[in-house]
Symmetry: C2
Subunit: 466 residues, 2 copies
């Protein structure tokens, strides 16, 4: 390619994917480099840009009154910032030898090539949709996009029956269970794992199981869905497992997602064991000087295990985008990795985790002690004090913190941040016992539950010393 | 002294002060060493052991229905654990050359000497009670002990008038303002500082001022109380400053406390600039092999400034006691210091701080950048999301975190723990920008307010780089 001086002076950034990672990258790059220096073209195959997928359960459940509240920035707002965002336009090929992408207008099918100087791959993730009989029947819904959410709401308002089955009991599954409870449905959650919330150890998942049953949700664990049964009208009427059938007027799939990397794979970009793109610390795709990737389509380094993981989460996607944009814009920023923090809720139950579960620790050869303690969210005598269970894993002998899981009510979830920072800093349980955490009766017992767990972990490490 | 072998085999631990630090030390020592090995004698001059002074405002305000809920462990419970706790008995002299203490029965005046092998000084703090005309008039109350709390409640129930004046606007003052609001009083807070909550920088204190005014509390800042005026009945009727008089049916003093170290000073034990005992990292009094001290009567090392401070707080007292007890019991534990975390609330306003204020930083020669950001407790679209202001100090050039202050509503206060752990770990603002904090719409915006502040601090450090 022969570039003139003027063409070289004005680079073109192409962004594939108009959601959190892609548009954060575009916005941050634009902040640092004006339109005279950097042209930005972004392609989004869907109808919406920069929306909060994490908010969909709350929109479906009625806590968020309207869809547009979930849109952080509309295509028009992006365009007003000199970002040429082309909606309903899917990139179908990356030609990195030619430094160009081929894009297709989703509605007309028209295709064209766009060259780039720098490329951001932010193609996100796609929901796992098992190849089961009946999976495409009317009344069966995913909840990945705003279009999915609208379709589900349309089904709910058009359906007289009040029986809902949620397939999957990860965070999307439990949040959708809450949403449907809030809508007045009888909810059954069918879950392949031994307990709900497989991001927790089973003993902590058991607490979630019990609490959800206490909310009137029917919990079916250890059950693989074999098919979705349809009625004479073709609509879904039940979810079947090997052992039973669960009548359903509506079915929500919350099975999880996979990195959307077919395009990257076809282009020969490097993928990891979980199917996500592999990047360096600056979020540059490994081996590709001018290609960055971030958000739900990449794998991230788990700082505790030292292994790559796939963690689709808006907060990571936003950080990735900001870092990519800074680097493209001539700044410098890196994403060191994650410790695996997650928090979710089902009605008033708060569920949080960070670091490694027991099986994660075993998988990477770490030996550990575990302790589980009961404490309260506030001083025991203070009104509204609620029970909280904290499980802590600390490395055998060294006592280094490996992970924390929390199940409780108000005030339980965000306490996991204490452990997330301690994990990032590589603290031992013993160092944690003297952490200077905020104390006043409305906020904490005099020993914060995290401190109680740390003290018990120290004792376990000491008594297990050998 | 000539000790027989059997006497040497059974040591005697004497504890001065039967509250958090002293009784935690006694209890932990007892856990590690049985009565055959260690005799434990504890002296408490008051009526109560192991009570939560921090809970008094909530008892006075009616959130805690009865006094005994604030008692963590009664004298009888301590005695059942083979701790010889002698109530209403004040130690009036420490003779460390003779390894003995002289104790006086508060009611009878009878005195006796008790020898010790190991001594714990946990004499706590006493409220500052300025020498003002009228300070001892009926209707003027401190709130340090359960007896104080009961006396205040008795006054409230015997007084028809509904005008209360709180002197002082630190955490005790603002908590008492809430308590009196809850009891239906018209509350005026008279405060010497330019703004309430002098533990915050004035710009953040201003937010507290405004919020308290919004609650209907009359805030009088920058006003030194000159006297308390009494009526014909001898009871308090007003609080006077140089400029004005504030009518009062009841006055609550929340001016703060000083280390209660007269006894230690008379014995020649080492005191610091704030009048508190000085200890080493094992909580041993400096220069005294067999004497430990902890709780509100000691100074603690501030890990951020490298200076000693006096921070009377139940959570530190409990940690000190546990550490002292472990060391006396033959174990090993240390208290590395504090970062100065505190959290409090006034009605639904949450106030938190950790690390250094601007003036603290200047005092120790640190240069810094400050940023203040507005964010929300939850995703903006999620119900119940409330505004939150976060101020962050980062060191000039290095960007090391120096302090965080937060004023907001539900969910604001305990977020300070993130910064407390980051301070303990010596993180920079830049390291904090990639912290893996719990995110879900009911818990946080996609960028947690602490991350937003950290990002802005990074920019400030960078633009101030020189």
């Amino acid at each position: 390619m022969n570039m003139s001086h003027s063409a070289r002076a004005r680079e073109r950034l192409v962004v594939i994917g108009g959601d959190a990672a892609g548009m954060s990258a575009a916005s941050q790059a634009r902040r640092l480099r004006g339109p005279d220096e950097l042209e930005i073209v972004a392609f989004e195959r869907g109808h919406f840009s920069s929306f909060s997928a994490c908010g969909i359960p709350y929109w479906v459940g009625g806590d968020v009154p309207e869809r547009d509240r979930l849109i952080a920035r509309s295509p028009e707002e992006h365009r007003a910032r000199d970002i040429d965002l082309r909606m309903r336009t899917e990139v179908v090929e990356i030609d990195f030898a030619g430094a160009r992408v081929r894009a297709r207008d989703v509605d007309s099918g028209a295709e064209s090539w766009t060259s780039y100087d720098k490329l951001v791959v932010a193609t996100g993730a796609r929901p796992i949709r098992p190849d089961l009989p009946g999976i495409d029947a009317p009344g069966v819904h995913g909840v990945q996009t705003l279009d999915d959410g609208q379709a589900l709401l349309d089904t709910l308002s058009a359906t007289a029956g009040r029986r809902a089955v949620v397939v999957g009991a990860g965070y999307i599954g439990v949040e959708m269970a809450e949403a449907l409870i809030n809508r007045g449905y009888e909810v059954t959650v069918v879950n392949r794992g031994k307990e709900p919330m497989s991001t927790l150890d089973p003993d902590m998942g058991r607490l979630v199981h019990r609490a959800m049953e206490g909310m009137g949700i029917t919990m079916v664990d250890d059950a693989e869905v074999t098919k979705l049964l349809t009625g004479d009208d073709g609509r879904v009427r039940a979810v079947a497992t090997a052992d039973a059938e669960y009548p359903a007027d509506v079915v929500v799939l919350g099975i999880g997602v996979r990195p959307e990397t077919d395009l990257a794979k076809a282009a020969g970009l490097p993928l990891g064991d979980h199917g996500g793109l592999l990047t360096d610390l600056s979020m540059r795709v490994r081996g590709h000087e001018n290609i960055w990737a971030g958000g739900d389509c990449v794998e991230v380094l788990d700082l505790v295990s030292g292994r790559e993981r796939h963690i689709p989460l808006g907060t990571h996607a936003n950080k990735h985008g900001q870092i990519i944009g800074a680097n493209i814009g001539g700044g410098y920023a890196t994403f060191p990795g994650v410790v695996g923090t997650a928090v979710s809720k089902v009605c008033d139950l708060e569920i949080a985790r960070t670091g490694l579960r027991e099986k994660d620790a075993r998988r990477v050869g770490l030996q550990y002690e575990t302790v589980t303690i009961e404490s309260t969210s506030r001083a025991g005598y203070y009104p509204g004090s609620t029970p909280m269970t904290v499980k802590m894993l600390a490395e055998r002998r060294t006592g280094r913190l490996l992970g924390v899981q929390i199940v409780g009510r108000e005030g339980a979830g965000k306490r996991v941040d204490i452990a997330a920072v301690a994990l990032t800093a590589g603290m031992t349980a013993e160092q944690m016992t003297t952490l200077d955490l905020g104390y006043a009766p409305p906020f904490s017992p005099v020993w914060d539950p995290i401190l109680v767990a740390a003290r018990k972990a120290v004792a376990a490490v000491r008594s297990g010393a050998s």
